[in-house]
Amino acid sequence: MSSMNDDSWAPWRARLAGQRGHRYWRALEDLAADASFREHVASTMPAWSQVASMDRRGFLKLLGASLAMAGLTGCGRPPEDSIVPWLRMPEGQPDADAIFYATTLCMAGEAVGVLVQTHQGRPTKIEGNPQHPASAGATGPQLQAAILDLWDPDRSMTPRRLGDIGTWDAFAADVGQWRSRFASHGAGLRILSGSIRSPTLQAQRKAWLQRFPGAKWHVHEAIDDRQALAGAQQAFGRPYRCRYRLEKADVVLSLEADLLDGGPAHLAYAWGFAQRRDPERGTMNRLYVVEGTPSATGTMADHRWAISSARIGDVLVEVAVALGMKGLPTLTPSGLSHARIAALARDLQAHRGRGLVVVGACQPPHVHALAHLVNAWLDNAGKTVVYISIDDALPGLAELCRDARAGQVETLFILQANPVYDAPADLDVSASFAKIRHTVHYGLYRDETAHICEWHLPASHPLECWSDAQSCDGSRSIAQPLIAPLYDTRSPHELLALLLGDIEQRGQAIVRNQWKALDDTAWIAALRAGVLPEMESDEPDLPVPADEVLRSWPLRQGQATELVLLWRPDPFLHDGTYANNGWLQECPRPLTQLTWGNAALVSPALAARRGLNTGDLVTLKVRGRALTLPVWVMPGQAESDITVHLGYGRTLAGRVGSEVGASAYILRTQDALWMAAGLELVRADGHVDLASTQSHDRMEGSESVRSSSLTALLAGAAMESAPTPPSLYEATQSGDYAWGMTIDLNACIGCKGCTVACQAENNIPVVGADEVRRGHAMHWIRVDRYYAGSPDAPETVHQPVPCMHCEHAPCELVCPVGATVHDSDGLNVQVYNRCVGTRFCSNNCPYKVRRFNFLQYADLTTESLKGQRNPDVTVRNRGVMEKCTYCIQRIEKAHIQADRENRAIADGEVVTACQAACPTRAIQFGNLKDSGSKVRRTRMSQRHYTLLAELNTRPRTTYLARVRNRHPDLGEDA
């Protein structure tokens, strides 16, 4: 096969030179259309021409039946488009407007059941699956953004050998040769994969190891809970995974555990927690959080205490002592006041069996072990925390590298892992892998690891292939494809089958075979429901912890003043896997409101002492490794702790994710995965203008977010400051419905799920870092974050702000062409095709929720991205104002449905995208004229209040105030 590098390609490459972004794709389109290019391709590499043509036809099939993409036509004669009907009408109702299918997505270390919306065969939107315990109907930013990965034009589309286009057949041939060599025993044959969530893959792994007894299967995850498992090992003698029942817990102590918005099962936890936060329905729980760096969970705490991450263990010991546990080590005081420890201990003691102590995955094993002891002592074990036994860990990346350097590895398959980027720096992966004869990389992208491997194989997106998965809580579900693979890709199961010498078997057969216990009806039912019925009754066993750990309690070395470096997964990019996703890159990080890059989080006190401001460059030095990145002054950060987020600084992520931020893996070593003492912080010269979406962090006397203490609330304090002022104009709104929204600030954890869900539903474009800096971000629902109190221990509040749909809308008054008007349901609608772009409406909007297309932001040229668009929502072109519409396309769909059946729209029939995505059900939407509707009931709440009521705009979006349930003995000592 001829090489892509010979000179015959020069003219074509010249035509692509210097083209970036959508221009690049346009140029590529032209090339593909160019006949001479096609035959050149055909002559030099037949494989590629197949791929290319397959790709085009794929799209024709795909977009064929669907009508033209929604889009604003400027003036000029509209293009005449044609209708391409089906050849044979497929099963189901292909011409229906939208169909949902249940499937499963594995993201950020958890398998979540989802419902995927398809339009004429195009997957366009992901919703949570109410029947799946890990989702309970909700999703997060990452799940919402997964749909964009499917359509990402940077995905790997074809096998490559040493960088040249290859074919699966050629690869199969190579494997055939290798297999013959390993026929006997398989020594020197290795597989490296991410953690295995799929039972089918698990089975295939066993089969593979049986076939090659000498081979080894390694597992590598940059972000995992191995310290927690080690802790369980210490306490119980074998690994257990904890499962918490937050809905049952009255008192929760979280030691750096980001239950609500980090790690597996956080969707389920968030819902469990939210169920206990409505004072008007049942008793409120009380959450204590002790942490070194602020987390979403911390912002929801009734008492949040910032203590260096290195001293969290000591706090737990002090609590244990106060609880009267014996045999504990005596330590120097952790720095947490005695009053707090005592009150906390009393609270836990008073709620035996209804309390819970949780330790974060970043804490060392012995702290986890002690937590198990405390939970057992408090008799919480088995009630608020259950233990799920798991298999022993597989060999990891370290062993692999060691063997590789020892020359014991001859052939290595890397399945959906990217160790070259995210391995600890001291492993020096590329050097070790260089010693391996054959390396094969299999993944969604041609990433850093792919480039050092002999073979790269493109993976099918989870929405393109059959699979199955087991979530952390043990529930299992099937993953079914929503669309035929867009490119020449295979599913992991197909690849494993191929490695086992079975080149025939396809994904569906493999997975179905795994579940042959199910008869066809059960199988269909499982596919429909999106989750499998529990097979064996899992009676969680109740292991008894031993207290060896107390004897071998490691005494803290180093003095209190030294700086500590903390690594944390990025809330959106996780370990960097999702770095090429524009929605995630541009979504403001929950606590910093930072987009497109990471920073070193520094406490205000330390920043003041070192004279550092947000954006100043600093160099972090730890154990001879150094990394330079900008400072972010983070209120609520423990003084001695400095946090960096993983997942940035990708070099080969793709057009979106490459060279964004700095890679914190450079500092990471095997023995210090989450925390490194002895950090040096040196000011580097230079300043960076970080792309943050919120410049003012304090409420500055305005009452935009109102909060109260539970006691005050029970005493009958109302939140609404003033009654609605009178108006000279009579109410205009006249229809049968009055749509309204209420947002419960006591439930909102600020995860930004709503923001990304809205982006996916409403075709909201990505604008890029520079445009964000210039104040051109386009999100329709933003989540404001305010600090109250001292910068060292602030109270942090989140406030989602969509369009308020004012009944007296200031924007409508000033539009000269009537492009924003009220409809008879009382919605404030924006008519894009009428808008001329005076922008007066935005000036006159007191909530500043309107967004303007200052440039041509919507990408109209990249074919694959068009596939994701929601055909029910207009794609806005430049010069047009846009804003939240309460998902009018969903409202209208319900209207039409109901009108066809001559009935009224039922409560809960219209669910907005943000509402559907919210893990804590903080958003209520419905008809205010219907006295029985949920949203109407929230209006009666004592906590109900209106934003900027004094302006008499009469918003349809209102809020429920936040409530803090402080420990009476601590009072305001939050």
Binding site: G71, S82, L87, D97, D823, V829, Y832, R834, H895
Partner: protein, 215 residues
């Protein structure tokens, strides 16, 4: 020294100004005409196969829904798959040159590309199902297709035209069972229409909302 302009010059000047005015106005009108629809009203459109609605609907009497199957359930009326055509044409006239493209498509598996006759802008969200459900006849917008050997657009499809009916739906409504009836003609339109608005619970207020067509 002599005047360059005669006394009549003033008149010419005025005429020139007048001409300019006319020119501008006609220019604007011409431009509007240019930026209208791709194919004009009542102008037939060449299709890969010269399909005759007159023959299929008028002569044979095939129901609209036989081919446009999803018209009652979906926003799109639905275009018949070639398989639908083949139900008859695998036997009938299969050797006619006129049907060649159809047969080829069926054999080669490359679908036919019909040219659009009734086209709305992309920012207009028209829904067939609700109009059918509320008693708007096919003929009201598509004309007497049973009399069209070749399909053509019979209505301007301009926003003003849509609003004519949305302002006062009564005059365009017919009993649900007559929706697909091409020849149906009312006796007392106004009375019947008002009655139907009641029975079909058509919310007149909502009909004039921007949001009912633009999203």
């Amino acid at each position: 020294m002599a005047q360059v302009f005669s006394r009549r010059a003033g008149l010419y000047l005025q005429l020139v100004l007048l001409a300019l005015l006319v020119l501008v106005v006609s220019g604007v009108i011409a431009w509007r005409a240019m930026t209208a629809e791709p194919n004009g009203m009542n102008e037939t459109v060449d299709q890969p196969v010269p399909f005759s609605h007159k023959h299929h609907v008028g002569d044979i009497g095939i129901d609209c829904r036989y081919c446009h199957a999803s018209v009652e359930t979906s926003a799109y009326a639905g275009m018949p798959s070639i398989a639908t055509c083949m139900t008859c044409h695998s036997q009938l006239f299969s050797d006619q040159p006129m049907l060649r493209p159809l047969i080829d498509a069926w054999q080669s598996g490359v679908p036919l590309a019909w040219r659009r006759v009734n086209q709305l802008p992309d920012f207009v969200y028209f829904d067939h199902s609700i109009h059918v459900a509320k008693g708007v006849g096919c003929a009201s917008c598509h004309g007497r297709v049973d009399r069209m050997p070749l399909m053509r657009r019979t209505q301007p499809l301009s926003m003003a035209w849509c609003l004519d009916c949305h302002r006062d739906p009564s005059l365009q409504l017919r009993p649900r069972e007559h929706v697909f009836d091409m020849a149906w003609a009312p006796h007392d339109t106004r009375a019947l229409g008002d009655a139907l608005v009641e029975t079909y619970r058509i919310d007149r207020r909502k009909l004039m909302d921007c949001s009912i067509c633009h999203r």
